[in-house]
Symmetry: C2
Subunit: 229 residues, 2 copies
């Protein structure tokens, strides 16, 4: 379902451009030329076109025939719907997980949580910390999906989450305090799962998913040209 495992040049370029878009180094609206990109990576247009098509399918590029290729604008309405799906799915999934919970995975989760703690406490520049924490954050959620026996859903979200990942980069250029809040959410969520406190769990998940989104509404004026109207 995902991209094939070819070790060819196109795979490297795909990852490279994708990360540049997700980290906003290629801001929304930026024009990308096939020829320029090909020359930049010292390859021909053909593999570049493959990469562009793949990124278009992921919603990160918009190819306008005979006009140009552009980094897609962030669609807040779409992100809102993605968060809605994540909310209802995790509500149900984590509840299932709590119902069948035993202590056998305690160590694995604690390891992830400690890693997140150490990332926040490290002395790296805030951008590095933010990037590392996002990865560790995804690992936490994905591990819970896996423990619930629904690993495929991680793949599904991976296909549509690109838009959201980019938005996260935008809003997480803020403070360590936000990351610390996310970490505490994770601890509380796992605690609620362990204690099978369904009501508390439901509350925690909703806030965990939506709080960052809502709090970031104030930041949008910084780069209004990034967003679809």
């Amino acid at each position: 379902m995902a991209t094939s495992r070819k070790v060819c040049s196109s795979q490297v370029i795909y990852q490279d451009i994708r990360e540049q878009i997700l980290h906003l180094e290629l801001p929304p609206g930026t024009a990308l030329s096939e020829i320029e990109t090909a020359e930049k990576y010292h390859i021909s247009r053909t593999p570049v076109r493959d990469v562009f098509k793949a990124l278009e399918a992921e919603g990160l590029l918009e190819i306008k025939p005979h006009i140009g290729t552009f980094v897609s604008l962030i669609d807040l309405d779409m992100i809102s719907d993605i968060l809605y799906m994540r909310e209802v799915v995790e509500q149900s999934l984590f509840k299932d997980l709590a119902a069948t919970h035993d202590k056998s995975h305690e160590y694995r989760i604690q390891l992830i949580l400690q890693e997140q703690k150490q990332i926040i406490k490290s002395d790296l520049p805030i951008e590095e910390i933010s990037r590392a924490f996002i990865i560790a954050d995804n690992r936490f959620h994905h591990t819970l999906y896996e423990l619930a026996g629904k690993q495929n859903i991680v793949t599904f979200f991976g296909m549509i989450n690109s838009q959201y990942e980019r938005f996260r980069t935008f809003i997480n250029q803020s403070e360590k305090g936000d990351l610390l809040r996310l970490y505490h959410d994770h601890v509380a969520i796992w605690d609620a799962i362990s204690r099978q406190d369904y009501e508390k769990l439901s509350d925690l998940i909703s806030h965990h998913i939506y709080d960052g989104f809502n709090a970031s509404a104030l930041e949008l004026h910084k780069h209004p040209e990034y967003f679809r109207t």
Copy 2:
């Protein structure tokens, strides 16, 4: 997010091959050659490659470099997870819809339901009826998503639902009775939404989504080679 709106030849071929795969006219495991396909449609390999890449991203093709391109096998585990997502999302979404329900959309829904009724009662061959009903069935679900203000979710499911659509074609080669059952489900679901009977609604949705899947377990032996082990 979806494919671009080019009216070029590749768009036609994409739709054509996609339908052939979904209708099992190209059974899972079938080898597709770029050259053969190009000659068949009287075009060159380049647009064919674009189509193959798009279908691979959709999970309908599997491109093995330097070996060949094959129609992907049906992954029952993945379909199971897709149905799980649909269940929890529709549970929540239709509940929201019931909460804010007014009579303003009554006519629109009744129109869709009547259409479904007429399709089943028509004298067309069973395959035609099955195909037409699947389209009308999707329209019913999509309309409810739209009324709930979450139209983007339809797009998301469209990206991952291909696998499920193909499976539906496989199991719906059965009887008119199955389609009639689905139609009655729809009527009951809309009735529960109108009456804001949340408990009944929850029950109906779960059965509506899973019953066909479970009942079809008996049919798998007909073509075991279609499925991933």
